[in-house]
C-alpha cells in the first residue's frame, strides 16, 4: 500500500512535520466537536441563559459591563435579600464575569459587535474546547504513547459528565473552572517533572485564576499537597518537588488572597491547613536532606528523622489546639459534609435540600461516563506500571475524586477529567498493541526488558513479545472501535435528551409528535416586569430568586445565594403558616407579590408543593415551636394533599395559594393533581389576605398580590366575609333571658 510518495511523507524529518500538522488538525476537530455537541439547546430553543444560578452570573456580568470593573468590585446590591441587601462584590467568585467582560471588550475593540448575552451563552462551549486541549497536554505528560493525549481530548470533549455543566447557556462557574482545573494540574505536573520555577509560577497563576472562578478550588488546594505528601512518604523527596511546591504554595496563596470573598481564609480555615502543613514539612525534610549531605553518621541520621517526626507532630498538635480554641475556623460546612455524610442533613438542611448535593447511584456514573467507567480502573492500574511522580498524582486524584463523586452528584464534574486520562491510557495501550501491522519475530522471546524488576507489578514480570495473529488483532481492534462508536452515540443521545433543556423553557411532545414549548416561567416574569412597579418586592422560595432578579428585574426576599439561613427560614415560615400568621410577616418585609410554582395541572414535578417539606424543615430549624414537620404528615405518616391532608397542611399559605381556584378548572368534576395523583377536596381553599394577580397559561406560576390593610380596620377574614354577604355573627347574640334591671 505504501507508495513511494507516501514514504516521503511518513519517514524522516518531513514526517514529523506532517504528524504535527495532523495532530493540530485533529485537535481542532476535537475542539469543534466539543463545541458543537453543546449547541443542542441553542438550536432547539434559542440563545437563552439556563437554570437558576446562571441568571445571577448573567445579571452580574451585565452590571460589570455597564458600570466598569471598580464599581463591580464594590457592588452593594439592594435589590436582593430585601431588606438586608447583599455585598455582592465581596461575596462572589468574579472570575467568570470578568472573563466574559474581557472577551466582550476585546471583541468590541476588534469592532465585532456581539451582544453580552451571546458571549455568556457561548462561553461554556468555548471553554470546553480549551478543556479538551488542556486534557491533551495533561495526558501527554502521563504516557509516551502518541495516541493517549488525543484520545483523552476526545473523551473530555464529549463525555456527558462534563457536558452536563457546560452546554450553551449554562453560564455557571464550572463553565470555566474545569478548564482551569485541568490546566492547573497540567502545569503542576510539568513543574514537578522539571523542577522549574517558571512552571511552578504558571501553576500558581492559574491556581489564582481558578480561585477567582469557583469555590471548588479547595480541591486543588488539598490535592497538590496530598500529592507532595505521598511523594515524601514514598521517599521520593527531590529538589524538583521542593522548588515546584514552594513556588506554587507561596505565589498561589498570595494570588488566592486577592479575591475579596476568599480574603484571609487561606491562613485561617481548616480547608487550607493541609497545604500549609505540607509546606512546613517540606522545609523540614529539605533541611534534613541538606544536613545529611554533610554528616554521614548513621546514628545522627536516625536522630534527624526522629527530630523531623517530633517537630511535625508538635506542629500538628498546635494546629489542632488552634482549631479547638477557635483561631482557625473549622472545616466549612459544605466541605465537612463530604466526610461526615450525615452532618448536612442534621445541621445544614439548606445544603441537604439541594438535589445536586445528593449521593450518586451507580446508573448516574454509567450515564455520565459510559464505558470510560470500566476503563478507568484499568487505566489506574496501568499507572502503577511505571509509577513515576505524575502517575502517583493520577492514582491519588482517581481514588479521592471517585469518593467525592460517590457522595455528591455534583462532584462528578471533578471525577470526569481523571476518568478521561485513565481511560485514554488504557485504550491507547490496547490500540498501540493491537494496531501494529508487523508480526513479532520468533526470536524476540529472549529479549530482556528493562522493567523486569521485583518492585514492578505482577503482570509485567515477563518481557513484552507482541501479538502474533492478524485474526486476534482484527478481533480486538474491531471490538474497541465498536465500543468507541457506541460511546459517541451514547454521548450524543445523553446530551440531546438529558442535558440540553434550559429548564426555563420546558419542551413537551404533542400527540402528533411535534414539539410544544411550555414557556410559563418567562410569561410570568415578563408579566411582573410589565405590570408591577419597579421596586415591588416579590417573595418566592429561594430557588426562583435569581430568575426573578434576572428576568423580571424585581427585588426579591431570598435567592439562590442562601447566605442567610434565618431569612430563608422566615420565608419558609410565611409559606408554611396560616394566613393570620403569615400576613404580619409579609407586611413586615414589605412584600407586594408572592410567587408560587404549581405543577398540578401539567404534571410538572419540580413544583413548590414537592419542595414544601424543605421549607417546613428549614423554618422548623429556627422556630421549632411554631412550625412542626410532624403536623404536615397524616397520622399514618403520609404526606398528602387530598381530603386526608392535615389541617395544618390545608391551612398553610403555600397549599392555599397552590390550589386556589383550581376546582373551577374542572367544571363540576373533582379536581385532580397530576403530580401527586391526588383527588382534591370538593371545596377549594379560600384566601383572605392575598388575592390572585396572575396565573400563567399552564398554571405553573401563580402570582398573588398581598392585600393592603383594610380601610375600616377590620381583619381580612371578616372583610372578605362581609363582601361575600355573610352576616357577621354577633358575639352578643346568645343572651340569657331578659332580666329586669333594678338599680
Amino acid at each position: 500500500m505504501a507508495s513511494p510518495s507516501l514514504d516521503v511523507l511518513l519517514k524522516g524529518n518531513s514526517s514529523r512535520n506532517v504528524r504535527g500538522l495532523l495532530r493540530i488538525i485533529i485537535l481542532c476537530t476535537i475542539a469543534a466537536a466539543a463545541v458543537s455537541s453543546r449547541l443542542f439547546s441553542v438550536i432547539r430553543f434559542e440563545s437563552i441563559i439556563h437554570e437558576f444560578d446562571p441568571w445571577f452570573n448573567f445579571r452580574a456580568t451585565k452590571y460589570l459591563v455597564q458600570h466598569g470593573f471598580y464599581k463591580f468590585w464594590d457592588w452593594f446590591d439592594d435589590r436582593t435579600w430585601h431588606p438586608l441587601g447583599r455585598v455582592t462584590g465581596g461575596t462572589l467568585y468574579p472570575g467568570l464575569m470578568v472573563t466574559s467582560g474581557v472577551i466582550y471588550h476585546v471583541l468590541r475593540f476588534l469592532t465585532i459587535p456581539v451582544d453580552i448575552r451571546n458571549i455568556c451563552v457561548l462561553l461554556a462551549p468555548g471553554f470546553s474546547g480549551l478543556t479538551a486541549l488542556a486534557m491533551y497536554l495533561l495526558t501527554n505528560e502521563m504516557s509516551s504513547s502518541p495516541s493517549a493525549g488525543l484520545l483523552a481530548a476526545v473523551f473530555m470533549g464529549i463525555t456527558p459528565g462534563y457536558i452536563s455543566r457546560s452546554v450553551a447557556g449554562s453560564y455557571d462557574n464550572e463553565a470555566i473552572a474545569i478548564f482551569l482545573l485541568v490546566f492547573t494540574f497540567y502545569l503542576w505536573i510539568k513543574a514537578v517533572k522539571n523542577g522549574s520555577i517558571m512552571w511552578g509560577t504558571l501553576a500558581a497563576l492559574f491556581y489564582g485564576y481558578m480561585v477567582s472562578a469557583w469555590g471548588g478550588y479547595v480541591f486543588i488546594t488539598n490535592l497538590i499537597p496530598l500529592h507532595v505528601f505521598v511523594l515524601l512518604c514514598m521517599g521520593r523527596y527531590t529538589s524538583r518537588v521542593y522548588i515546584s511546591y514552594t513556588t506554587w504554595y507561596a505565589l498561589g496563596t498570595l494570588a488566592s488572597m486577592q479575591i475579596p470573598f476568599v480574603g484571609f481564609l487561606p491562613i485561617r480555615n481548616s480547608d487550607h491547613m493541609s497545604a500549609l502543613g505540607v509546606f512546613g514539612l517540606l522545609q523540614l525534610v529539605a533541611f534534613a536532606d541538606f544536613v545529611r549531605g554533610f554528616v554521614p553518621g548513621k546514628q545522627f541520621q536516625k536522630l534527624l528523622t526522629a527530630m523531623i517526626l517530633i517537630v511535625f507532630g508538635f506542629a500538628l498538635l498546635g494546629l489542632v489546639l488552634l482549631t479547638v480554641s477557635g483561631v482557625i475556623a473549622p472545616w466549612s460546612g459544605r466541605f465537612y459534609s463530604l466526610w461526615d455524610t450525615g452532618y448536612a442533613k442534621v445541621h445544614i438542611p439548606i445544603i441537604a435540600s439541594v438535589s445536586e448535593h445528593q449521593p450518586t447511584a451507580w446508573p448516574a456514573f454509567f450515564f455520565d461516563l459510559n464505558f470510560l467507567i470500566w476503563l478507568f480502573p484499568a487505566g489506574v492500574y496501568l499507572c502503577f506500571r511505571q509509577l513515576k511522580d505524575e502517575h502517583v498524582f493520577v492514582v491519588i486524584y482517581a481514588v479521592l475524586s471517585s469518593y467525592f463523586a460517590g457522595v455528591m452528584v455534583r462532584l462528578m464534574l471533578t471525577l470526569t477529567p481523571v476518568v478521561c486520562v485513565a481511560a485514554a491510557l488504557a485504550v491507547s495501550h490496547i490500540l498501540d498493541t493491537y494496531l501494529v501491522a508487523s508480526k513479532p519475530s520468533e526470536a524476540s522471546e529472549t529479549k530482556p526488558t528493562a522493567d523486569n524488576n521485583q518492585s514492578g507489578l505482577r503482570s509485567t514480570r515477563n518481557p513484552v513479545v507482541g501479538v502474533y495473529s492478524y485474526l486476534s488483532k482484527f478481533f480486538i481492534s474491531a471490538m474497541m472501535i465498536v465500543y468507541l462508536l457506541l460511546f459517541v452515540s451514547h454521548c450524543t443521545w445523553v446530551t440531546s435528551n438529558a442535558y440540553s433543556s434550559p429548564s426555563v423553557v420546558l419542551a413537551s411532545r404533542m400527540p402528533d409528535g411535534s414539539q410544544h414549548i411550555i414557556d410559563d416561567y418567562r410569561e410570568a416574569y415578563y408579566w411582573l416586569r410589565q405590570n408591577t412597579p419597579a421596586n415591588a418586592k416579590i417573595m418566592s422560595w429561594w430557588d426562583y430568586g435569581y430568575q426573578i432578579g434576572g428576568m423580571a428585574d424585581r427585588p426579591t426576599l431570598v435567592d439562590n445565594n442562601t447566605w442567610n439561613n434565618t431569612h430563608i427560614a422566615t420565608v419558609g415560615k410565611a409559606m408554611s403558616s396560616r394566613e393570620e400568621v403569615s400576613y404580619p410577616i409579609l407586611r413586615q418585609h414589605d412584600v407586594d407579590y408572592v410567587l408560587v410554582v404549581f405543577g398540578g395541572l401539567l404534571g410538572y414535578s419540580g413544583d413548590d408543593i414537592n419542595k414544601f417539606l424543605w421549607m417546613v424543615r428549614i423554618a422548623e430549624g429556627i422556630w421549632p415551636d411554631e412550625v412542626k414537620e410532624r403536623d404536615y404528615f397524616t397520622a399514618r405518616g403520609e404526606y398528602r394533599v387530598d381530603d386526608e391532608a392535615t389541617p395544618t397542611m390545608r391551612n398553610s399559605l403555600m397549599y392555599k395559594m397552590s390550589y386556589y381556584n383550581f376546582n373551577s378548572l374542572f367544571g363540576g368534576g373533582q379536581a385532580v393533581d397530576r403530580v401527586r395523583g391526588a383527588r382534591l377536596p370538593a371545596e377549594g381553599p379560600q384566601l383572605t389576605t392575598v388575592e390572585e394577580a396572575f396565573t400563567s397559561e399552564n398554571w405553573i406560576i401563580r402570582i398573588y398580590k398581598v392585600k393592603d390593610l383594610d380601610n375600616f380596620g377590620r381583619d381580612h377574614s371578616s372583610a372578605v366575609a362581609f363582601d361575600k354577604g355573610h352576616k357577621k355573627k354577633r358575639a352578643t347574640k346568645k343572651k340569657g333571658p331578659r332580666v329586669l334591671r333594678t338599680e
Binding site: F367, A378, V407, S455, S469
Partner: protein, 326 residues
C-alpha cells in the same frame, strides 16, 4: 459523700423544722432525694410531685428500662437523662428557676402509665409551676415524644426552651478518663508494634501490587454507588412480589445493596479483561496460547459489556443502545 448527704439532710431537716415555712416544701424534699441526679419515683411520689400547688418546674421521664419490656431507646437514653439532670443540678443555675428531674419506671408506676394512657415509652413531661413568679395559667404538662434516638443535647435544648429566659447551666458530659488512657496505651502499643515488626511490614507496605489492589477496590466500590447505599441505607435486596428476589431496583436513582455489588463485579471483570488484553497478552510467548487467551478475554469483555448495557436499559427505560448477545 454519704456522710455529707446525711449532714445535709440533717441540716435541712432542722432548718425546715425551725423555720417559719411549713415543713412540706416539696421541692426541697425531692431535691434532697435526688442525689444530684434525678429522683426515682413511684406512683404515689409521682402524684405528690405533680400535685397542685407547685412552685417549681419538674421534668419527668416516663420510661421502661427493664430488659423484659424490650425498650431499647429507654435503656440507651437513661444515661443521657442522668447527664442532663446532673448538669442541671451541679451547674450554676439562676436562683429563681427551680427545676426537679424525676424518672418513673413502668415497673414502679403502672397506674400512672394507665392514667396518662401512654402506649409508648419513653416520654418526657415538663410540668410548669402553678404558683410563684413563673406560674403558668395552663398547668398541663408539656410533652416530648421520642421519634427516634435523641441525644441529651437535643432534649436539653427543648427543656431549656420552655423554661423562663435567663442563663442556664451548660450541658456537661463527664470526661471519660478510661477511654483517654486506653487510647494512649493503644497508640503507644501500636507504635511499638510497628517499630518492632518494621522489617516484616515494610516490604508489604512497599509492595506495589498491594497498593494497586487497594486503590482499584476503592475505585470500584465508589463508582458502583457504595456511598449511596451507605448514606441512604438502602435494603440489600427486595422481593419482587411473586416470591422471588429482584436484584435490580426500578428507577434511575434507586438501587439495592446487592445490585451495586453485581455492578462492581461487572466493572471489575471488564477492567480485568482490559488489563489482561493490554498487558498480559502481549507477554505470552506461545502463539496458540496467545490466540486462545485473546479470544477468551475478548468474548468475556463483549458479553459482560452487553450484559451491563442490558441492565442499564432496565434502569433507564428509554435507553436505545445495546450490544448483540443480551
Amino acid at each position: 459523700m454519704r456522710i455529707l448527704q446525711f449532714f445535709l439532710a440533717l441540716a435541712c431537716f432542722f432548718s425546715a423544722a425551725f423555720s417559719t415555712n411549713p415543713p412540706t416544701d416539696k421541692f426541697e424534699k425531692y431535691q434532697l432525694l435526688s442525689h444530684s441526679t434525678s429522683v426515682k419515683l413511684d406512683d404515689s411520689s409521682y402524684e405528690d410531685l405533680v400535685s397542685k400547688p407547685r412552685d417549681y418546674y419538674s421534668a419527668i421521664i416516663l420510661t421502661a428500662t427493664e430488659a423484659r419490656y424490650g425498650c431499647v431507646i429507654c435503656r440507651e437514653f437513661q444515661s443521657e437523662w442522668e447527664i442532663i439532670s446532673k448538669s442541671w443540678n451541679e451547674g450554676s443555675k439562676p436562683d429563681d428557676i427551680r427545676l426537679l428531674f424525676g424518672s418513673l419506671d413502668f415497673s414502679m408506676g403502672k397506674n400512672t402509665f394507665q392514667k396518662l394512657m401512654l402506649q409508648t415509652a419513653p416520654v418526657v413531661l415538663v410540668f410548669p409551676p402553678t404558683n410563684g413568679p413563673h406560674a403558668k395559667i395552663d398547668s398541663a404538662p408539656l410533652r416530648f415524644d421520642f421519634t427516634g434516638p435523641v441525644s441529651a443535647e437535643q432534649l436539653y435544648t427543648w427543656i431549656t426552651r420552655h423554661l423562663p429566659a435567663g442563663p442556664k447551666p451548660p450541658l456537661v458530659r463527664p470526661t471519660n478518663y478510661m477511654r483517654i488512657v486506653s487510647a494512649v496505651t493503644l497508640a503507644m502499643g501500636f507504635i511499638t508494634l510497628v517499630t518492632v515488626l518494621s522489617p516484616y511490614i515494610l516490604p508489604v507496605i512497599r509492595n506495589r501490587n498491594l497498593w494497586a489492589a487497594l486503590s482499584l477496590i476503592a475505585i470500584l466500590l465508589f463508582t458502583s454507588g457504595h456511598m449511596f447505599n451507605h448514606i441512604r441505607k438502602v435494603p440489600y435486596v427486595a422481593g419482587d412480589g411473586k416470591g422471588g428476589i429482584s436484584y435490580f431496583a426500578g428507577g434511575f436513582s434507586n438501587q439495592f445493596g446487592m445490585e451495586t455489588q453485581i455492578i462492581a463485579s461487572i466493572y471489575g471483570v471488564l477492567s480485568f479483561a482490559t488489563i489482561a488484553l493490554a498487558m498480559k497478552v502481549p507477554r505470552i510467548a506461545d502463539k496458540r496460547t496467545q490466540q486462545l487467551v485473546i479470544i477468551i478475554w475478548g468474548t468475556v469483555m463483549l458479553g459482560m459489556y452487553s450484559f451491563l448495557l442490558s441492565v442499564f436499559k432496565t434502569k433507564n427505560g428509554g435507553y436505545p443502545f445495546f450490544l448483540p448477545p443480551f
